[in-house]
Amino acid sequence: MKYVDEYRDPALAQRISAEIGKLSAGRPLKMMEVCGGHTHTIYKHGIEDVLPPNIDLIHGPGCPVCVLPMGRVDDAIAIARTEGVIFTTFGDMMRVPGSNGSLLDAKAAGADVRFVYSPLDALKLARQNPSREVVFFAIGFETTAPSTAITLLRAQAEGIRNFSVFCNHVTIIPALKAILDSPDLRLDGFVGPGHVSMVIGMRPYTFITRDHHKPIVIAGFEPLDIIQSVYMIVQQISEGRAEVENQYARVVRPEGNVKALEAMARTMELRPYFEWRGLGFITHSALKLRREYALWDAELRFEVPGIRVADPKACQCGEVLKGVIKPWECKVFGTACTPETPIGTCMVSSEGACAAYYNYGRFSMAAERAHLPTINLQPATQAQH
């Protein structure tokens, strides 16, 4: 199969889907994607309805906003409220609820919280405001961790001392290990994250094939990329193979991006453990700044409560993130919890399974098959953030 010219052809999608049906012969197969961008594409383009009904796509913990536990949001707000601080964040963290309001609420109450597009924009704010402390709220998997790392290297090179990073970068591999070790869920394969793999390459995934005998196919973001990746997984299963394959070779190199990995290794190291919403504490699953960069570490420069906070009882983001339940099976989905008034993180970020499903998936055949209770909502096309 050609990768470059055919993947955007809709008729081809139907053909590949028919092939998937033939190869899997009705056998129920569960595949997990662990990238919020994939989750978004799957719901936006109704991929679950294109695939044969025996293929079940499970949405894993691939949205960095979603997996951040409530206690860390509280820590961020505590820093933001500190006198003299300009607290900078990506837009999608603004509305994530902490135990006592969001960053947006803190801003309304007088904290100087600002959106930035890039950590380099935060660094520029520090240059422009030498009498203020500029803190960057760093979140994301390996796709964005290198940008924080390179920004730190530049802050160090320029001797900018009023800039610091509240580091919440997480790493995908330990989360995949935790999911594979969990008794809750039996998976048959993985749709691998495209842009995380662009940084880390293919080798880190070999434990999935070697120790767990499951296939993983790194996928691009077009609807046809995902359908083709599912086909490649089913092909591996039908041939009794378990390998790391790369459907997104037009962007992902087998070795990843060595320069990006070097920048991360110079500035950051693994935390002994880190809490993930829904998955609990996972060993070596997040990054913190190395001791050499303590000057730029917001966790050392500011008082943070560091208190673990349980999720609201009604919220089942944990089960959604583990793929144990579908978004619509959560008790508060679409009623108490909507993108306008989110209770859980999965409804806040557009990459979260609940928000993606709320905006696009509610009227899908997959939902009908699952007997989704009727809820009185606006048309999907008008639902916005």
Binding site: N257, A260, H385
Partner: protein, 90 residues
């Protein structure tokens, strides 16, 4: 955050700090190209930009298709484009 935005290199503006001017849908902004420079970056090349950093080279066809995909996305992704337009990286 994980989709990325394609941009075309216009010129290198800061050789030491690896900053290049890129054009995204007619708007010119600075981004860091440090991790893709080894692949050879010249004006006219396309790159995939994540939070102000070019993380991968793209061919022109791929860049055009990715932009099309982005424009078809909901507010969250057009927001990201708007955030890029508001960026003032030096």
């Amino acid at each position: 955050m994980c989709l990325g935005i394609p941009g075309q290199i216009i010129e290198i503006v800061d050789d030491i700090n690896h900053i290049a001017k890129v054009e995204v849908s007619g708007v010119r902004r600075n981004v860091n190209i440090g991790v893709v420079r080894d692949e050879g970056i010249a004006p006219g090349d396309w790159v995939l930009i994540h939070v102000g950093f070019a993380m991968s080279k793209l061919d022109e066809h791929e860049a055009a298709e990715t932009l099309k995909l982005l424009y078809g996305m909901d507010a969250a992704y057009t927001d990201e484009l708007n955030m890029l337009y508001g960026s003032e990286i030096e």
